[in-house]
């Protein structure tokens, strides 16, 4: 399909208009195909070419320190990547990061969404403030956390610790993964709040009234009415956040640089370090493909679990 076929088709039929419904429909479908083909083609190229190149790189020896030495090595890169000591750490850390942040953002998100649903003075401003962390660039927020909040000498936390007479904690040295989880949660809780807050507004007030008449207290209303109502938006939060959390990079790069050791290295950071710190493009490509595979498995499971929930009308 190419764009040049479009005017040719148009002129051919301008002189002889289609007679039957069938012909007209055929012409329509050809036309629509011609219309969408450029974007489809561009998308395909955007996806297929890098994928093909990555697959190619993953099968050859390709180290920037040894130019020209690009022999075909089969699956050797995959073997090295999977047996690399960083791989297990990267996998565990990715899982840990994704799961913790998901848990925190859903639990905290639901609580905040329920809290700000009751009306109080200044609610509009509070809502905007709650959502605003989401609009800050990951690098910027990581830097703010690193230098202004968690810094053992000049950070706000250190000042609080000192105020109570405690020894300030060097977060990135002592609890590196927890610190990363804290930063990433700070960014992604607002997303959950945003979605759940809007969902709360569509909760039928009469349902709550009915539950009150049925003898349900605030806790029972939360468990039996609010939470089931939020099931769908929570599923959406989990799905979308998983996709983004699998590829967290900027926060790790700006704060711990994957360390100490491999303690905060996730898959994305591992691949980066292999390609651009160890200059082994072949190994990094193999890692990239493993990550693609894992992401697809995750997506498959999520869509099986949650997608059904979303389309299910019952």
């Amino acid at each position: 399909m190419s764009i040049s076929s479009l005017p040719a088709e148009g002129t051919a039929h301008a002189s002889a208009p289609p007679v039957t419904v069938h012909e007209e429909r055929q012409r329509q479908s050809r036309l629509s195909l011609a219309m969408v083909s450029p974007s489809v083609a561009v998308l395909l190229i955007w996806m297929a070419v890098p994928l093909a190149m990555t697959i190619y790189f993953s099968l050859i020896r390709y180290n920037l320190l040894y130019p020209g030495d690009n022999d075909f090595v089969g699956l050797e890169n995959y073997y090295f990547f999977l047996t690399d000591e960083g791989f297990t750490a990267g996998m565990t850390n990715t899982l840990l990061l994704v799961c913790s942040v998901l848990l925190i953002s859903v639990v905290v998100g639901v609580l905040i969404a329920v809290l700000v649903d009751t009306s109080f003075w200044g609610r509009g401003i509070v809502r905007v403030l709650l959502i605003s962390p989401f609009f800050i660039m990951p690098t910027v927020s990581a830097l703010v956390w690193k230098n202004l909040l968690l810094h053992p000498v000049s950070g706000v936390f250190a000042a609080v610790w000192r105020f109570f007479g405690a020894e300030p904690i060097d977060w990135f040295a002592t609890y590196p993964m927890e610190a990363i989880i804290l930063i990433v949660s700070w960014q992604w809780v607002p997303f959950a709040v945003l979605l759940l807050m809007t969902a709360m507004q569509s909760l039928d007030q009469e349902q709550k009234d009915a539950a009150r008449l049925d003898g349900a207290g605030p806790v029972a209303i939360f468990w039996h009415i609010t939470l089931p109502h939020l099931a769908r938006p929570i599923a959406v939060v989990v799905m979308i956040e998983t996709i983004f959390l699998l590829s967290i990079f900027a926060e790790i790069f700006t704060t711990t640089g994957g360390g100490p050791g491999y303690e905060t290295t996730n898959l994305a950071y591992l691949i980066y370090s292999q390609a651009l710190l160890q200059f082994d493009v072949g190994l990094a490509s193999a890692g990239g493909l493993v990550a693609v595979l894992l992401a697809n498995i995750a997506a498959f499971i999520l869509i099986r679990m949650i997608g059904k929930n979303l389309t299910d009308k019952g």
């Binding site: 009915a210 009150r212 049925d214 349900a216 009415i225 089931p228 009308k313």
Partner: protein, 369 residues
Amino acid sequence: MSDLTIRNLKKSFDDTHIIKGIDLDIKDHEFVVFVGPSGCGKSTLLRLIAGLEEVTSGSIQLDERDITDVAPAKRDLAMVFQSYALYPHMTVRKNMSFALDLAGIDKAEIQRKVEDAAKVLELGPLLERKPKALSGGQRQRVAIGRSIVRNPKIFLFDEPLSNLDAALRVLMRLELARLHKELNATMIYVTHDQVEAMTLADKVVVLNAGRVEQVGSPLELYHHPVNQFVAGFIGTPKMAFLKGTVKAVSNAGVTVALDCGPHYQLPHQSTSLKPGDDITFGIRPENIEVVGADQSPFKVRLDVTEHLGADTYCYIKLANGEMMTVRAPGDFMADYGQNAGLLPDLSQAHLFDASGKTIPRPRTPAQAA
């Protein structure tokens, strides 16, 4: 027993007074309908009774027990909402048993109560379905079933039929009337539809702007409205209101001159009216006869006529701009713009003074009952 007594009940939201002092007595087994135009406070009054809104001042008593500040669930009341408010993720069975589950009642007992209610409402085959898989009428029945299982002293209904289509509404109306007889229950029903009010109620409470205008049986309201508002609100098409002045007052009645022309001698007894006072003459569409232009002093030009089969509604715009409707027999034929005369049945006429209060008219034996 379930006697509800409301004394000087008031409700304000900030500076807006919604309910401005209501006194009301509802007796055991009565079907009471609150009716009024939108914004008159009828739904708020119901929510106050249910305990869903806090009372600003006044008291509500149920069988000598003051429930003004009692939690909604502890009042022995059940409510059916306009949107039904079924719990969407629960089955019909769970929807109906929810209140009992929360109360921690024995499982077998719950099962029995739900099955009983389902039988009364013919919900048996639907018990395991979710609300989404039900039609509007079925959802309505589930909402009623949810109330029945709690065996409340009073059932509250908040415009329960307004989400149904016209045919189903008539059906559910009959079903509600049947249910009222079968359960021998006390019911309070809020609606803006005066047909529902007239057909269902033992006692109609007409509300306007946060006050009770009149309480009475449907026919009492129809024949003896206490003021012009009630007279205009009850009855379709609306009663015609024609402005006029009093000519003479005597023992035989009141003589009035209408602005649109005719003079009438009415049987109403009044001590407060004197010649020259402004009055409003009210006559229902069904109490007027259309005759030839030369047979009546009340001469008009007919506007549009609507044929409904059983009746014909003739719309009339009088020379002085007043509008009125006449209900003629179904086979009545008239041309647009045709001249005609009107013969009102003066024994059925209503008379209101300048402030809108009714001048009482003599009761016929049938109406007095």
